[in-house]
């Protein structure tokens, strides 16, 4: 992060150990004020534990967590200026939507009329105007999700923590909510820390993201940095589709056994006789499978000397000029090759 922005949350060598499991292992990162920061990783990678550490539901076993510069060690959740949108929404089932949203102000002793006004404003913000008198059980999943959001945002927290908030929604609604969340974040200007296992979601929404694996942070960067320049084998495999080349295949292509990744859409498919353009690496192989995917076509190519590469081409003009068992030349620019580390930072 640049020095001109202030830091909302910072982790300094934080670890959280459950018995034998290092749920979070020596994590260090900073989240800037007003940033949309995602923590991406498979389940059990430590991202949710990190979120719970910020919220105060967990205490670190070592390291320091600072929220707006102050160490929050021993500070209970109810004294932290952060709010959480829970994965299961955690709406209070015995209260109406109004009462749910007003819960924070009610606890702080805000007068009834005033908190009803701000609750209505919040419901308008999340497009649930007029739903205030219903019970959570009368709402759909997407609506409950918005109530959870309104209930957290009404407190104007300095940091909003979101734990896979879209996980329970169907695909269409999820995509719609992604955009809404992103524009909401820009409007309210609150720092969002967003936990997800969906790499597409993380790429689409975040200013920056951290990729977690087995309690460790593998890489932190902007979506483009993470996608275009994955630092480790894990990141290359987890974020987007990648051809991971190691061992003899790597040696044949680069002269070194160091693993590297090449994105399927960066590979050109040429006729066998064609020459690869300047600065390109090329290899020949036989097409072993073709999958038509609408916007794109995916080719599986068994390259000479062993190994398989996946190639994805846009169906910009004709759907496919190639056929299974055809021998083709694959080529890609040297600069698009990403040498990888096998371990996290």
């Amino acid at each position: 992060m640049g020095h001109q922005t202030s830091i909302a949350v910072s982790f300094e060598g934080v670890s959280r150990i459950f018995g034998e499991v290092r749920a979070v292992d020596d994590a260090s990162f900073e989240v800037g004020d007003g940033e949309f920061f995602s923590m991406l990783g498979p389940s059990g990678s430590g991202k949710t534990t990190c979120l719970r550490l910020i919220a105060g539901f967990e205490q670190p076993d070592s390291g320091r967590i600072l929220i707006h510069g102050s160490d929050v060690e021993g500070v209970p959740p109810y004294e932290r200026d952060v709010n959480t949108v829970f994965q299961d929404y955690a709406l209070f089932p015995h209260m109406t939507i109004h009462k749910n949203v007003e819960y924070g102000p009610m606890i702080r002793g805000v007068a009834a009329a005033q908190r009803r006004t701000s609750a209505d404003e919040m419901l308008e913000l999340v497009k649930l105007t007029g739903m205030g008198n219903r019970k959570p059980s009368q709402l759909s999943g997407g609506q409950r999700q918005r109530v959870a959001l309104a209930r957290a945002l009404i407190n104007r927290p300095s940091v909003l923590l979101l734990d896979e908030p879209l996980g329970a929604l169907d695909l269409k609604l999820r995509e719609q909510m992604q955009e809404e969340l992103k524009s909401l974040q820009r409007r309210v200007g609150i720092t969002f820390i967003y936990v997800t296992h969906d790499q597409g979601e993380a790429l689409a929404m975040s200013d920056r993201l951290a990729v977690f694996n087995r309690g460790r942070i593998e890489q932190i960067g902007t979506p483009a940095q993470i996608y275009e320049h994955p630092a480790t084998v894990f990141v290359a495999g987890f974020v987007g589709l990648s051809n991971l080349c190691e061992g003899s295949l790597a040696r044949r292509l680069t002269g070194s056994e160091r693993p590297f990744a090449i994105r399927p859409e960066k590979i050109l498919v040429l006729e066998l006789a064609e020459r690869a353009p300047d600065g390109h690496v090329s290899i020949t192989g036989r097409i072993s499978g073709i999958t038509y995917l609408g916007a794109t076509t995916r080719y599986a190519v068994a390259v000479d000397g062993g190994g398989e590469l996946i190639v994805v081409r846009q169906n910009a003009t004709v759907t496919s000029q190639h056929a299974v068992d055809e021998t083709v030349r694959l080529a890609w620019h040297r600069d698009l090759v990403q040498p990888l580390r096998t371990e996290g930072a």
């Binding site: 919220a55 105060g56 539901f57 209970p76 959740p77 109810y78 952060v82 709010n83 959480t84 829970f86 994965q87 299961d88 955690a90 709406l91 209070f92 089932p93 015995h94 819960y103 924070g104 606890i107 702080r108 209930r151 957290a152 407190n155």
Partner: protein, 310 residues
């Protein structure tokens, strides 16, 4: 085809018929319980209700099978009202105390105990139910008697004065714990406690831990979280438990007969009326009382929103 070979085909045909007619299957499954509950159980209850509108001929001592409210008028005599008041007060006191004792136990079982500890506590709660009720009540009589362990313990600890002060309280006191309302209350509380703990445990199990976290996250201290979130959601369990403790106390005739000051409770009155006195109508009228009291109680609970969280 032989009969032996035909049997499975009949069975499989029956399965097919039942599969294709789920309503018929439902009816088949529900017939025995409906018969039992509807005809035998509710039927006898209505027969009882009917009995309460007959009356005893003072002269011959036989039941006159004519509609009359005379028996209910008899219910309103001073002595019978005392029985009613004594029983409902005891039931209310036992219920409130049981809820107060059971809640922390249930809360600990659900939220804090390890799996092992939880299993042990379940066993601890259920174990008394496996032994004879009479044995346990008589055991309490010995514990509470003047020569019993409580008195002995009070002497050893030099707090006999506390016990004496307790027994000196008018109405609920008496010559010894086993011959006082306090004793009856303690035994009722002990005997019905599992019936309060288990429903509260069931209700608390249904409150996800994330609700407690959400409440804390929104700024509520543990005490506020308990009052605003946990307790309201556990109320249906408390009500379910109180239905058990309240109605079981209302109807019991054994405990006050063994531990207590021999003033009759509703159950004992019913027992005597239908037995030695042979006054079935008045006994029936007495049994209507707990039904009315419970209905009123549930209506009030409902009005107060006790079932909103269901």
């Amino acid at each position: 085809m032989t009969a032996v070979a035909a049997t499975p085909s009949v069975l499989s045909r029956l399965s097919t018929v039942l599969y294709l007619h789920p309503r018929a299957m439902l009816l088949l499954l529900l017939a025995p319980p409906l018969l039992w509950l509807g005809v035998i159980y509710l039927g006898s209850l209505f027969a009882l209700l009917l009995q309460s509108f007959f009356y005893i001929d003072e002269f011959s001592g036989t039941v006159v099978h004519e509609f009359s409210l005379a028996t209910y008028a008899q219910l309103l005599t001073r002595a019978n009202l005392d029985i009613f008041l004594r029983t409902t007060s005891m039931a209310a006191a036992v219920t409130v105390a049981a809820a107060m004792v059971a809640f922390p136990v249930a809360y600990y079982m659900v939220r804090h105990a390890s799996l092992r500890m939880k299993a042990l506590l379940y066993l601890g709660v259920m174990l008394p139910l496996w032994s004879s009720y009479l044995v346990r009540v008589y055991a309490w009589k010995l514990i509470l008697a003047k020569e019993g362990i409580v008195t002995w313990f009070a002497e050893q600890a030099h707090v006999t004065w506390v016990l004496d002060a307790l027994l000196a309280i008018p109405v609920i006191g008496g010559p010894s714990l086993s011959i006082s309302y306090i004793g009856t209350f303690l035994v009722f509380l002990y005997i019905w406690l599992p019936f309060m703990i288990l429903p509260i445990v069931a209700a608390l199990e249904r409150v996800p831990a994330s609700l407690t976290e959400a409440s804390a996250d929104l700024g509520a201290r543990p005490g506020e979280t308990f009052r605003k979130v946990i307790f309201p959601l556990a109320v249906p369990g408390v009500i379910a438990g109180s239905i058990f403790t309240f109605s079981l106390t209302l109807g019991d005739y054994i405990i006050p007969g063994i531990v207590g000051n021999s003033r009759p409770f509703i159950g004992q009155a019913v027992y005597q009326l239908q037995g030695t006195a042979g006054n079935i109508p008045l006994a029936a009228a007495f049994t209507i009382v707990p039904i009315v009291v419970m209905s009123a109680y549930l209506m009030v609970a409902r009005r107060l929103g006790a079932f909103d969280a269901l």
